[in-house]
């Protein structure tokens, strides 16, 4: 690993034209699975389920079990197809993809093969520099996820060298939509940016539709990136590699860049590219060879005899089309102008993947600036430190409430940060944390006056200094009062009260 020869990126682009393609798997967040009524682990209610506790007979391929299609998953798939600008097939059907693997309870995956539910679309993708690129979509089809393997023994925890493996079928049967692009030409030096922005856009779309939690770190959204190079001036496409399961947007960008540099070095040295799957290694930032394409890849597809065609009525398609959210590019333009952010501020939110969070926080009553400040600074900082996603820590409603408490004077900024910590620690909503930790600003003047009296007794010359016009002398008393109140006082009010006393 990591011993691949790489060509300088710019040089690679000078000599070769990259052609990209993506297969993105989206786990739908329906309550139940694609073909069984077992609870869906990709639904937020079931995230923490123990192994093999979300399993119905069909998910583990028990003898006699039969699949039945989840209507909600079909609706979500149609909506996604429409959002990708696809045509919805008047009739589509399921097929069996036959191969043996221990994570596949039936040893076939129910998928769609020659008749996908959605086909021929395109999405507009906005790059970080504001350029808009159109990515052509070949198809989007429904299928089921496989179970989860844990490799035990050996040194790496990876499949190679493991002594044995353990299988958990909770994920088996989770509803997936696989979105397949057509070859993307003309990407040139922006290829890595396009890769990242494309995945980002798919994420925005499914979040806006509400059909997936789209958490890449949880595998709700998984990207396989296909990269091939062809020498300048050549028509024929080069041999492609498929880098599997690249599970963050930043990694997609890096993996595409890496493959371009790696393949260019091989081709320039007169070598040939092997058609194979490759694995992305987050730690080293490299890819390594996986399974070569071979004639063992004979999946013996045939129409799934246990399931019937899906033939959505025009009225259903129109109903779902009418309910579509706006396109991500259009939405961004709108939000940017509504919020009045500077270019750099807005792009910061976009690139952090926090557009939805900020939008929801504004909708819950916060000003755009306040919403942005919370998400981009304090919450992102804590998330980074914990290796989690900001959206996992707090809800937009909680952030809006926090800001309201600041605005109405119940909390100072400093107190608000403590309350945020309490919310993240699971102590409840901001108001609950304020109550239980006793963090509200003390607005009772009697208590403040008592504290001021005490402080003045210790520094008797201060009042005279103030009366002499040295108003800054109040600072020492304010500090003492704030300390006595453990920070839970409004410093401005304390100052007012001291000045009042001096004028008496």
């Amino acid at each position: 690993m990591g011993r691949d020869k790489l060509m300088d990126f710019d040089e690679a682009l000078e000599r070769f034209e990259p052609v990209l393609g993506f297969e993105v798997h989206v786990e739908l967040n329906t309550r139940t699975k694609m073909f069984s009524a077992a609870p869906n682990p990709a639904h937020s209610a079931n995230h923490d389920a123990a192994p093999n506790t979300l399993v119905a007979p069909v998910d583990m391929g028990l003898p006699g079990a039969l699949p039945v299609v989840n209507e909600e998953a079909v609706r979500a798939s149609i909506s996604l197809g429409l959002a990708l600008g696809c045509d919805i097939a008047p009739s589509s059907r399921f097929a069996r993809k036959n191969y043996f693997y221990p994570d596949l309870g039936k040893n076939y995956q129910i998928s769609q093969y020659d008749e996908p539910i959605a086909f021929e679309g395109s999405v507009e993708v906005e790059l970080e520099d504001g350029t808009v690129v159109t990515v052509p979509i070949e198809r989007a089809h429904m299928e089921e996820d496989a179970g989860k393997l844990t490799h035990v023994g050996g040194s790496t925890g990876r499949i190679q060298g493991a002594e044995y493996s353990l299988v958990d079928y909770n994920r088996a049967g989770v509803p997936l939509v696989e979105i397949v692009t057509k070859p993307i030409f003309g990407a040139e030096h922006r290829a890595p940016d396009i890769a990242k922005a494309y995945v980002q856009t798919i994420r925005d779309i499914v979040l806006a539709l509400g059909i997936s939690d789209a958490r890449m770190e949880r595998g709700n959204l998984r990207c396989d990136a296909n990269v091939s190079l062809r020498p300048r001036g050549q028509d024929k496409l080069g041999t492609r590699t498929e880098t599997k399961n690249v599970n963050s947007m930043r990694s997609v960008e890096r993996a595409v860049r890496y493959e371009i540099q790696r393949q260019a070095a091989i081709l320039a040295a007169g070598g040939t590219i092997t058609q194979e799957t490759r694995h992305w290694h987050e730690d080293t930032g490299t890819t390594s060879p996986g399974r070569p394409k071979s004639d063992a890849d004979d999946y013996r597809y045939f129409p799934e005899p246990d399931l019937l065609p899906v033939a959505p009525a025009d009225s259903l398609i129109e109903e779902l089309r009418a309910a579509l959210p706006e396109q991500p590019v259009v939405r961004r333009r709108r939000l940017k102008s509504d919020w009045g952010f500077a270019d750099i501020e807005f792009r910061g939110v976009v690139n952090a993947g926090l557009l939805g969070e900020v939008e929801a926080t504004v909708a819950a009553g916060a000003t755009p600036a306040a919403a942005r400040k919370w998400w981009m600074s304090e919450i992102s900082r804590i998330a980074n430190a914990d290796g989690r996603e900001p959206g996992e820590l707090v809800t937009p409603a909680q952030v809006a409430e926090l800001q309201r408490l600041v605005d109405e004077g119940t909390l100072t900024d400093k107190l608000a940060r403590q309350v945020l910590e309490g919310v993240i620690a699971g102590e409840g909503d901001p108001a609950q944390v304020v109550a239980s930790r006793g963090l509200a600003v003390v607005s009772d003047d009697t208590a403040l006056i008592a504290a001021i009296d005490e402080a003045l007794a210790a520094q008797p010359d201060v009042l005279d200094k103030i009366r002499d016009g040295k108003v800054q002398a109040a600072g020492a008393v304010i500090g003492a009062v704030m300390k006595a109140m453990r920070g839970q006082a409004d410093a401005a009010r304390v100052r007012e009260l001291i000045l009042e006393r001096a004028s008496q």
Binding site: P57, L62, P63, G64, A65, L66, F100, N107, D306
Partner: protein
């Protein structure tokens, strides 16, 4: 005849009447059948497993009846269950070594409905491994023998269910029919077997052989009994996407209605011109013709119809079935359930799977799985599987054309009477041709029933006549079947099974 001997000879309908009339308890009825099993099943080997708790279940039904509970018409009647159907209280092996001792965590829908109706599960019946076969010789647990002649096959794949009802070990049994596995055993054992319209009975919990062909149905001694059982197990099941949603008429009522014979007057009965008598054993042809003559004498009109594509049925079937089976049987891989064979220390999971399937599957299963893998593999799909699916369309249009002219079709249920054990074991193709008359119904999804038509003069063995009706017209088959049954039983002076030589375990 002892009291117990009398009980086991009752039809399910008569047994049910005595149970509800308080003349007999379910415990008595169940014990009589358990005794019979003990007495004859050493020879017949219809059962793979006998339910140790059958008497408890029966006692519970008796208690509920005594308490005045409203029970279904078959409550307290014993039932044999083909081992292809999964059960929570008895092992379910589908006749395969790979599933030896397998305990299902859920009941097949037909089993659950039978329990809910108060039927008493007696045990699980023998079958060709994964229902692949026409003789029950392909069971991993040894063959079932035909109670008419213990040296002969009871048909297959559901030989165990047919032999159990023929040998009076159970009044009723459940079967499954993918290409004739209910009807052909009925033919060779002198019993009644009904394959419902595809989707009429739930497949949930029936260990799949070929999903687009499989159908569960009743195996009984009379047409009325089949109707009674069909009423219990049939109807829509949301666990099976191919299950039909319509509400069905009472098939028992149809059978009772048909027994008057009125239905035969003016009934148009189609005989398929492409199935010449010459292809059948003489005794099979003569019983078939005699049954048609008897129907004609009651006013039925016998019409010759053409079904030019039926001759492609066997070929299409032996592509579709192995293809679907190769996929359905992939789940038997040693990971989650079933046998596991570790060929050597340090074997990879791939090697363990391949060794397990080598050891756990019998020869016929391997043959068909390999054949099906071939039919689906890249480059062959269109020529084989794809073409077979087109033949299906052609056979359906043959049926449509025929049913535009006639009310039912009639055929012999199989080409020969029961052959000898081992006779066709080494010639798979000959074995496959056994299903020539039953297969078209599975390919087209239409219902078919086989009822006894008499004994072949040359060997004294039973012959069945099959009636086929358009999809969803199962009730028509119960009407016609009951009419012909009444006519022939009358002619014979009693049920055909009265002439069966098996008595007390000695043939």
């Amino acid at each position: 005849m002892s009291a117990s001997d009398e009980i086991i000879r009752l039809t399910a309908a008569d047994l049910a009447a005595r149970l509800s009339g308080g003349e007999m308890s379910s415990v008595e009825a169940t014990r009589a059948h358990l005794d019979r099993i003990r007495e004859v099943d050493g020879d017949v080997h219809a059962f793979l497993h006998v339910n140790e708790r059958a008497l408890e279940v029966a006692a519970d039904i008796d208690r509920r009846r005594a308490a005045g509970e409203e029970l279904g018409p078959l409550a307290g009647v014993p039932l044999a269950i083909k081992d292809v159907l999964v059960t929570t209280d008895m092992p379910s092996t589908s006749g395969s070594r790979i599933l030896e001792g397998y305990m299902s965590p859920y009941d097949a829908t037909v089993v659950a409905r039978s329990r809910a109706a108060g039927l008493v599960p007696l045990g699980k019946t023998n079958m060709d491994e994964f229902a692949m076969g026409s003789s029950t010789e392909h069971s991993a647990y040894g063959p079932t023998r035909n109670p008419w002649d213990l040296e002969r096959i009871p048909g297959g794949s559901g030989g165990g269910s047919a032999a159990a009802v023929a040998a009076f070990e159970a009044p009723l049994a459940l079967g499954s029919d993918t290409g004739g596995s209910i009807r052909q055993p009925a033919h060779v054992t002198g019993t009644v077997g009904m394959k419902p319209t595809y989707g009429g009975v739930s497949r949930y919990g029936a260990i799949a052989l070929a999903s687009s062909l499989d159908q569960v149905g009743p195996v009984t001694r009379t047409v009325l009994d089949a109707g009674l059982l069909h009423d219990v197990i049939g109807g829509h099941d949301p666990h099976d996407a191919t299950s039909l949603e319509e509400s069905w008429p009472s098939f028992a009522a149809a059978a009772r209605d048909g027994a008057s014979g009125e239905v035969l007057r003016g009934l148009r009965v189609g005989v398929i011109s492409e199935l010449p008598d010459s292809g059948f054993q003489p005794g099979v042809s003569s019983r078939f013709r005699a049954a048609l003559d008897a129907m004609a004498a009651q006013g039925a009109e016998i019409v010759e119809v053409s079904a030019p594509h039926f001759e492609y049925g066997v070929a299409a079937y032996y592509l579709i079935l192995p293809a679907e089976a190769s996929s359905n049987l992939a789940k038997f891989d040693s990971v989650r359930f079933g046998m596991r064979v570790i060929p050597h220390a340090g074997a990879t999971v791939e090697e363990v799977m391949a060794a397990t399937r080598e050891a756990g599957f019998g020869e016929e299963v391997k043959r068909r799985v390999i054949l099906g893998t071939y039919a689906l593999s890249a480059g062959y799909y269109d020529a084989y599987y794809g073409s077979a699916q087109k033949v299906r369309t052609l056979i359906q249009s043959d049926f449509d054309a025929a049913f535009a002219q006639v009310d039912v079709l009639a055929t012999p249920s199989a080409p020969t009477t029961a052959f000898r054990l081992g006779e066709k074991l080494d010639d798979p193709l000959q074995m496959y041709l056994n299903d020539v008359t039953t297969i078209p119904a599975n390919l087209a999804g239409v219902p078919g029933i086989s009822i006894p038509a008499g004994l072949a003069p040359e060997d004294g063995l039973p012959v069945g006549i099959q009636f086929l009706a358009p999809a969803r017209e199962d009730a028509r088959l119960y009407r016609v079947g009951a009419a012909v049954e009444a006519l022939l039983v009358d002619e014979w002076g009693g049920p055909l099974l009265d002439r069966m030589p098996l008595r007390g375990g000695v043939a």
